[in-house]
Symmetry: C2
Subunit: 320 residues, 2 copies
């Protein structure tokens, strides 16, 4: 992760016209955990790859990820990202559209800057991943127009698989492809990434309800205020008694006809009555467990697996 | 061009979720002249390429072009395209953002579906072209915030080179690369495409002022109503006497403080007094002439050049 920081901060991301590139440099400077390039390089190392050969793809996948955040923030009208104003707020909507488009092209430039005998397959993996991320974002937006009852847990898991998990899985697959890993091991690594990504998103959902505000860095309960159909209300609805489920549906259908903080309190009280936190933690542990099994099954030396195990431990432990 | 029509209409462009893919299929059905894929295949044939091997790229470049139109229409708030409502009007702004992003990824899918020993160079050409198109669109938007005097003819030619010409040039280059053409000839073809693209855009500007409404299919003078700094007012300002130039600047600085049709009439009267139409036609002829010289200089059999000559004649003759 230190090396990821190094190679990312060596990139300028600026350019002319300034109106186009300043928002890109701003977005890339906001930082983030840089999980995806770290996974890509760790997967590369797992099969004895030359780390430098995969730097372009590592940067490319992070630029792509930040492009999706930039356009998502515009579409979701999210004014803040990592505590700073988002691009459509700091500049305007057109800037967010076009700087985002350009970031997508810049991601490709990084992918294309290094040759590889496996380049065609690597680029196809990156591109099919990008298409799935778009489909996942559309499904997420579609959920906004549905009631809690109209979204099933299976719909939700399918959505977060596409919106979040495939990019982690794709990063791992791409790293392994650069190293010339055997097809079978690449597929296992991809499955490892999917489980990791699902666990990552469920944690995100859990933190919104149960994060420690001081560590989490933002107010909890935002998903509840936004009536977002995350894993929490969807699982709660399944675990609830019929009267509890009715109350939950009614709370998630309400539009500003109740004090927002009162609504958060009532939803959280319902969650507590159901014992939701433990259920969600169990689901997260299940995904991490499945991820670990996949990693265990990969034919590679144990010391080479260490970086991926450490990355997984880091993700399991996250408080924000 | 018949073959381009065939291969384009064989593509479904639909998919699920429908909210994402319906606007894409709609956009691709709206049609257009399909100039870019035709140029790509003609360039491929010029060097004896296997036409089928370049079909993916031909479709990809047309999908990319339509993606840029979709996002441009959103940014420019253009309600109509080819006489039909644009995506942000027919659906909404978020749909325009995300369906556009997805079209960009779908363009890549088409580019990646066919192997080529020159694939890396082809993809780099496509990607660098895409970045220039984004830069050109930003420069175009920047002009909106400037007065007529603050945009030079050189700025304008640089903008349309990036926004319009490089994509025609890129299409030609890509077609030639698929055929394994020598580097020197590829560069000449690229230069041919730049001149062709500049001529194409200047024609567009001219048609807005002097198009035959019945053939043009839309009301002329829209660029004047929008105070757009196209080639027409920029060249007119250079050719005008000082009093004429002052009147022109004042008309292009006006915001709805004059009847729109009266404004169009006054600008057109100024253009006529300056003899602008002949000057613009001369500039267009100069670009077409430079394009023809480039084409003449390319080391290929004359019969193989015929499709490109015919395409050029088609463009020179266009009335809409």
């Amino acid at each position: 992760m230190d090396r990821v920081s190094q190679i990312m901060s060596a990139e300028p991301f600026g350019g002319l016209p300034a109106e186009l590139y300043d928002p890109i440099a701003y977005t890339m400077r906001l930082g983030g955990k840089r999980i995806r390039p770290a996974l890509l390089l760790a997967a590369n190392g797992l099969f004895g790859g030359q780390e430098e050969a995969a730097y372009g793809a590592a940067i490319g996948i992070e630029v792509f990820h930040n492009f999706t955040l930039l356009h998502d923030d515009l579409m979701d009208r999210s004014p803040l990202r990592r505590g700073e104003p988002t691009v459509y707020v700091k500049w305007d909507e057109n800037t967010a559209v076009l700087s985002g488009d350009t970031m997508y092209a810049l991601a490709w430039r990084h992918f294309l800057r290094q040759p590889s005998p496996h380049l065609h397959e690597i680029l196809q993996c990156f591109n099919e991943t990008a298409i799935e991320v778009c489909e996942g974002q559309q499904k997420d937006m579609n959920f906004e127009r549905r009631t809690l009852q109209e979204v099933s847990l299976a719909d939700y898991m399918d959505m977060i698989r596409q919106k979040t998990a495939v990019l982690l899985a794709g990063a791992l697959k791409i790293g392994a492809l650069y190293a010339g890993a055997p097809q079978e091991e690449v597929e296992k690594l991809y499955a490892f990434g999917l489980h990791l990504g699902l666990a990552f998103q469920l944690q995100d959902d859990l933190l919104d309800g149960y994060g420690d505000t001081a560590v989490f860095g933002k107010k909890t309960g935002q998903d509840i205020r936004d009536n977002k159909k995350t894993f929490l209300p969807l699982l709660a609805e399944q675990k609830a008694s019929e009267p509890q489920a009715m109350e939950l549906r009614s709370l998630f259908a309400s539009k500003a006809n109740m004090d927002e903080e009162e609504k958060v309190r009532r939803v959280m009280a319902l969650y507590d009555a159901i014992g939701l936190k433990a259920h969600v933690e169990e689901s997260i542990a299940k995904e991490f467990g499945a991820a670990r099994e996949m990693l265990d099954s990969i034919a590679a030396e144990e010391p080479a697996k260490l970086p991926l195990r450490e990355l997984m431990a880091l993700l399991m432990d996250r408080k924000k």
